[in-house]
């Protein structure tokens, strides 16, 4: 029942149209993206508010994942992907040619649709990013492991088996583990791409609770196909369609009084 409490909390009087500089986590300016000669995103403009949960919804293939991975430049790995426009995080354009991508990815954590723990121990999974930064101090690593596991409510379940293979965890536990793995780097922003689509209802519920708690510390962007989920966990929702940002407003209004007809068709299930 307490899920609906969060629903009410989401309205903190933030108005998307008049966000101050400090309230913006990601500022997307006229972002256009093409794969070869196929345009996947058209002139996207949006401001993602800090320490709130923002949901991206839209039909399959509309560009949600593509937009999400613009924010940590994971698209760089796609050979023929070209990005035009700007994305500002912490006041700097992350597509500036001097941007340090590895540094950016530590600030912007990402979790994928299917849990992808490395075939190592739970502990090694959690300290992977830290070790890459060159952190070797055992105490620091131990603390990071415990803190991040507590953040995702996994500590009690795994504290006695930290050195067992992460693959022995259940699917839901694995997904929480990879969220913890991202959190261990103390990012500012968390990108979640359909984090619950491979999970059972109970695990889904746990992760949803987790997301609503995470926003106390992090800015969360979540892609979801589940409209109820978007309504439950997010403060703001963006609706994408064929690479266009159709509508972006606070979740409550988007689901109760959508401005655009396409949005209404989609959320009422008449799309297609």
């Amino acid at each position: 029942m307490h899920m609906f409490e969060y629903f009410d909390l989401s309205r903190q009087g933030l108005d998307l149209d008049s966000l101050s500089q400090e309230q913006v986590a990601i500022d997307v300016r006229d972002l256009t993206l093409t794969f070869g000669n196929k345009r996947a995103l058209h002139h996207i403009n949006m401001q993602v508010p800090k320490r709130h949960v923002t949901a991206l919804i839209g039909p399959s293939g509309c560009g949600k994942s593509t937009l999400l991975s613009c924010f940590n430049r994971l698209n760089d790995l796609v050979p023929n992907c070209v990005v035009a426009g700007e994305v500002h995080i912490n006041g700097r354009n992350i597509y500036h040619r001097k941007e340090e991508v590895a540094l950016l990815r530590r600030q912007v954590g990402m979790v994928f649709q299917k849990p992808n723990p490395f075939p190592m121990s739970i502990y090694e999974n959690l300290v992977y990013g830290l070790k890459i930064q060159g952190i070797k101090d055992r105490r620091t690593l131990d603390n990071a492991v415990e803190q991040s596991l507590r953040d995702v409510a996994l500590w009690r379940e795994v504290k006695d088996r930290l050195f067992e293979s992460a693959l022995t965890l259940s699917g839901g536990q694995q997904q929480r583990l990879v969220i913890a793995r991202a959190i261990a780097l103390q990012p500012e922003i968390l990108l979640l791409d359909e984090p619950t689509s491979a999970l059972d209802p109970i695990s889904t519920l746990t992760i949803e609770e987790l997301i609503t708690q995470l926003k106390e510390k992090y800015t969360v962007l979540i892609v979801t196909h589940n409209m109820q989920q978007a309504a439950r966990v997010s403060d703001f929702t963006a609706f994408l369609h064929q690479g266009h940002l159709i509508e972006y407003s606070d979740t409550d209004r988007l689901f109760t009084r959508p401005k655009e007809q396409q949005t209404e068709e989609y959320i009422t299930g008449r799309y297609g």
């Binding site: 790995l77 590895a102 540094l103 299917k114 992808n116 990013g129 693959l167 990879v178």
Partner: protein, 524 residues
């Protein structure tokens, strides 16, 4: 309805039965091959009884010989069936084979006093044992084992003095000569005296030792006194119990794997070849693994997906089909003459014109074999890399890892079972190849090992012996029909064992890696 199902089943069954039969045939062939090696090879070690053979020769003259019977139905090259005997005589460099028709044989007597003597010179002889004497006086023959033991200890002691103190004095005296030290300088005189004293001592010890003699009777009827110190070991096979024969069998096997070859590789052991094979294969593995893995990583992870890359890939695949002798010629022409020659010019010019690396040697052999097995490792590693799920790469990048860090920490460990598969295939191929080795460093007989206690321990420039080369040599250049070829089968068996052992080790490493990175088992 029932009928239709029956036929449907049969239709299904046919390919299965056919496939199973094929597999069975293949298995049978494999077992047959190993079986022949096993039987023929083990024959080499099993002590055969010694016979006094009385027969009539082609001129109808009665003859006598001491021999072992190798086969009762040996088929000659002309298709005739013969009894095959093996005869060992004093001062004959190798055993001799005799083929007799059954009608020629009069008697075959396994006399209990027949003895098989192994000499320190490497020679071997069959004779009747007539007694043991010391300075012409008979000694209780039952003391022979103890006396031989004592004499052997004495021989070892004498040669220790010769190679130790005596050699040292000799060297010092030579040094004095070079420096022009006076002949009557006190230090020199003292040394000369010690030298003379030692020589005298050794002489008396030697002559004392030489008083022990084995009284033998040859098949010609001639008696002979053999100084006991010449004897390395002896066997009275006809007196041995089954248990003793088995012990002899085991000690023969041990001699085979631990001793050096004798009499032009037709007797003794094959230890240098075994050692050379293993060292060569290990060196090859050390070279080919990093090279192959790096090449595969470049092709799979870094190279852009264009036609040039796929051309390279096709090239690599075809490289696996190049006949091995071509690699041998390449190794000789490029590694030995070009690279080795230039290394000599640069670093070993003081030894020229005698080549150091400019001649065939174990390093060039390993390098050539590494080239030969490179494609296998590249292909298997690429396969392993391709099987690492992309989601893991993305996960690593998303945590701020660079491409290199992702490779090093995630992709390569997960591809390691694939890499090991490549290594296994490379070992199997590398241990069995002979043709290229003949050109780049393997020889019929090498006086030294490629790895010993002498600085720098691993002698990469040395030539080495190889089991495959030994077999090849034994198969084509052996003039003896029986013994040499049974040694060849034994060598084959050993080579199979070596390849299998190396493979089993690699397979065990791989299954450990697999267990560690079990993710491959379709977790994603």
């Amino acid at each position: 309805m029932f009928k239709r199902r029956f036929f449907a089943r049969q239709k299904d069954g046919l390919p299965i039965v056919g496939g199973a039969a094929l597999v069975a045939i293949i298995l049978l062939l494999l077992c047959g091959m190993v079986g022949i090696m096993l039987v023929k090879g083990m024959q080499h070690f099993w002590p055969n009884p010694l016979y006094q053979v009385s027969y009539v020769d082609e001129q109808d003259q009665p003859q006598q010989m001491f021999a072992t019977l190798l086969s009762r139905d040996f088929i000659t090259t002309r298709g005739q069936k013969r009894w095959l005997f093996n005869q060992a005589k004093l001062y004959q460099f190798s055993d001799q084979q005799h083929l007799l028709r059954q009608e020629q044989i009069i008697t075959l007597l396994a006399l209990p006093d027949l003895i098989d003597v192994q000499l320190r010179s490497g020679n071997r002889l069959f004779a009747r044992l007539n007694g043991l004497t010391f300075a012409g006086k008979a000694v209780d023959i039952n003391r022979l084992p103890n006396v031989l033991q004592d004499v052997s200890v004495e021989v070892a002691a004498i040669s220790a003095i010769e190679q130790g103190r005596l050699a040292a004095i000799h060297q010092l005296l030579a040094e004095y000569d070079r420096r022009g030290v006076e002949v009557d300088a006190p230090a020199r005189v003292k040394l000369e005296d010690e030298f003379a004293a030692l020589m005298a001592e050794l002489k008396s010890r030697r002559s004392q030792m030489a008083q022990f003699e084995l009284q033998l009777l040859f098949d010609s009827g001639q008696s002979y006194a053999l100084p006991l110190w010449e004897v390395e070991k002896y066997q009275q096979i006809n007196q041995q119990t089954a248990v003793q024969r088995f012990a002899t069998f085991l000690s023969n096997i041990w001699e085979f794997v631990s001793d050096t070859p004798k009499r032009a590789n037709s007797a003794g052991g094959v230890f240098p070849a075994l050692f050379g094979t293993v060292v060569m294969v290990l060196l090859m593995t050390l070279i080919v693994t990093p090279l192959g893995v790096m090449a595969a990583i470049y092709l799979n992870e870094y190279a852009p997906e264009n036609s040039l890359t796929s051309l390279i890939r096709i090239g690599v695949n075809n490289l696996a089909g190049v006949p091995s002798i071509v690699y041998g010629v390449f190794g000789l022409g490029f590694f030995v003459y070009q690279v080795g020659g230039n290394i000599d010019k640069l670093f070993f010019s003081e030894h020229l014109p005698a080549p150091t690396f400019g001649a065939p040697g174990i390093f060039w052999a390993s390098l050539t074999m590494a080239m030969l097995t490179l494609p296998v490792v590249i292909v298997a590693t690429e396969e392993g890399l391709r099987r690492v799920p992309n989601s893991l790469r993305q996960g690593s990048y998303a945590l701020g890892a660079t491409q290199f860090e992702t490779l090093w920490r995630t992709v390569i460990p997960m591809a390691s079972p694939g890499i090991m598969t490549g290594v296994i295939l490379a070992i199997a191929r590398g241990a069995g190849e002979v043709a290229p080795l003949l050109l780049v460093g393997a020889v019929k007989f090498a006086p030294t090992l490629p790895l010993d206690g002498e600085f720098p321990y691993l002698h990469l420039d040395r030539q080495f012996m190889h089991l495959g080369v030994l077999i090849y040599d034994g198969a084509f250049h052996s003039n003896s029909i029986g013994h040499g070829s049974s040694m060849m089968f034994a060598s084959c068996l050993l080579l199979l064992l070596v390849v299998m052992t190396l493979n089993i080790i690699a397979v065990m490493v791989r299954s450990r890696l697999r267990r560690q990175y079990q993710a491959m088992a379709g977790h994603w």
